[in-house]
């Protein structure tokens, strides 16, 4: 049992950053993406018996994570339907993370603005385009891997990726 725990600890360490990024771009909230990642790892641990080795572990795990994120998005959508918004709830209201770009306060502020604009633009992409772009471009998945993850055809993945890039360029005015 201790050995399994150590092995699992290694798996968590190897995949958690990438998983957190994916969840964050799906959910737009750091705390919620934390929970989604935790849930996905716990699911992996409890259902490890159903894992088939013909599928790469990363693909299997990411599929579990994405399904969990989609469920959470749906649940949040249902919840928000009954709640009167008190203010901005979209990506604008995300707490600005400490920007690491530039040494001067002005440089940091500009970097923050750029990061926020990019996050907003990614958030505005349609669901599938966002998924494909995040997985392909930000998480280094190949179109074939994205196809396995999402169940879309490889050619469809490419089309969504091109459209996403085109839309992002339009939203961000060419350069971020």
């Amino acid at each position: 049992m201790a050995e399994a725990r150590d092995l699992f600890s290694g798996i968590v360490k190897r995949h958690q950053r990438r998983a957190s990024r994916i969840a964050y771009h799906y959910l737009g909230d750091a705390a919620e993406s934390d929970e989604a990642v935790q849930d996905a790892f716990v699911k992996v641990f409890t259902h490890i018996g159903s894992y088939r080795e013909e599928l790469p572990f990363e693909v299997w795990f990411t599929r579990i994570l994405i399904n969990g994120c989609l469920d959470r998005r749906k649940a949040t959508g249902r919840r928000l339907r009954w709640i009167t918004p008190m203010g901005d709830t979209d990506v604008d209201s995300r707490p600005a993370p400490p920007a690491s770009g530039g040494g001067s306060p002005e440089g940091r502020l500009l970097a923050q603005e750029r990061q926020r604009a990019i996050a907003q633009a990614i958030e505005r992409l349609p669901g599938r385009q966002r998924t494909v772009f995040v997985l392909c471009h930000l998480n280094d998945c190949s179109p074939r891997e994205v196809s396995e993850l999402t169940g879309l055809k490889e050619s469809t993945v490419r089309v969504h990726l091109f459209r996403a890039v085109r839309k992002l360029r339009k939203l961000l005015g060419g350069m971020p």
Binding site: A4, S9, T46, S100, I118, H137, L138, P143
Partner: protein
């Protein structure tokens, strides 16, 4: 290629291939690479596209790294392992309120149930019997039955008594109206037993006439 230039899709495809995330045809990659080396507009467009995508990627990576700091990831790692720990143990269901207690409750309720059933049956039988007794004593028996049970004289009186019948529209207070003409017929019968009484009794009709005068 569209005409002599590379399309935007092709440029993105080439960019992914350069980054090693797309397994496009290597022959096509070599052709595109040669084209970009010679075609200035395509090279410029590619540089723009690649610069844009690199900038988005770098900025997003910085942003994500600042959100998910090492400390945060370490805390997340600990929480995952804590959650996994109880998952590894075999679970067992606690029986509540416990087998012995359940048996005792069953025994107690069985005993009580039998008593309740017996009391209900006894109550029903007693109710039926009492109902029959009360029914008999409460309702008066028919007139004929009462007369037959009395003395012979009474039965004779009853047989010769004026016919007492309820009025067609009997009032609600239960009084019974008596037809006065029946008294005359009673007198006309000259019954031996009643003759003495008849002599002593003033005639109702005569009394009524004298009163009216």
């Amino acid at each position: 290629m569209r005409g002599r230039h590379l399309s935007e899709e092709r440029l993105i495809e080439y960019y992914l291939q350069q980054r090693g995330t797309s397994a496009a045809d290597p022959v096509w990659g070599a052709v595109a690479s040669a084209h970009l080396a010679t075609c200035e507009p395509c090279a410029r467009l590619y540089a723009e596209t690649a610069g844009f995508l690199d900038a988005v990627r770098d900025e997003t990576t910085l942003h994500d790294a600042s959100v998910f700091s090492e400390g945060r990831l370490a805390a997340q790692h600990d929480r995952i392992l804590r959650r996994v720990d109880p998952e590894g143990r075999t679970g067992h269901v606690l029986s509540f309120p416990g087998r012995r207690m359940v048996r005792r409750i069953e025994r107690a309720t069985g005993f009580t149930r039998r008593w309740v059933a017996a009391a209900a049956v006894a109550g029903l039988v007693a109710g039926l019997l009492l109902g029959r007794v009360v029914d008999r004593s409460f309702w008066p028996a028919p007139a004929g039955l009462t007369a037959s049970a009395s003395t012979p004289a009474a039965s004779l009186m009853a047989s010769q008594a004026p016919a007492v019948r309820p009025a067609a529209h009997a009032p609600d207070d239960g009084f019974v109206s008596v037809d006065l003409s029946d008294l005359d017929t009673l007198g006309a019968d000259h019954t031996v037993v009643l003759q003495a009484y008849d002599a002593l009794t003033p005639r109702v009709q005569e009394e009524g006439l004298s009163a009216s005068r």
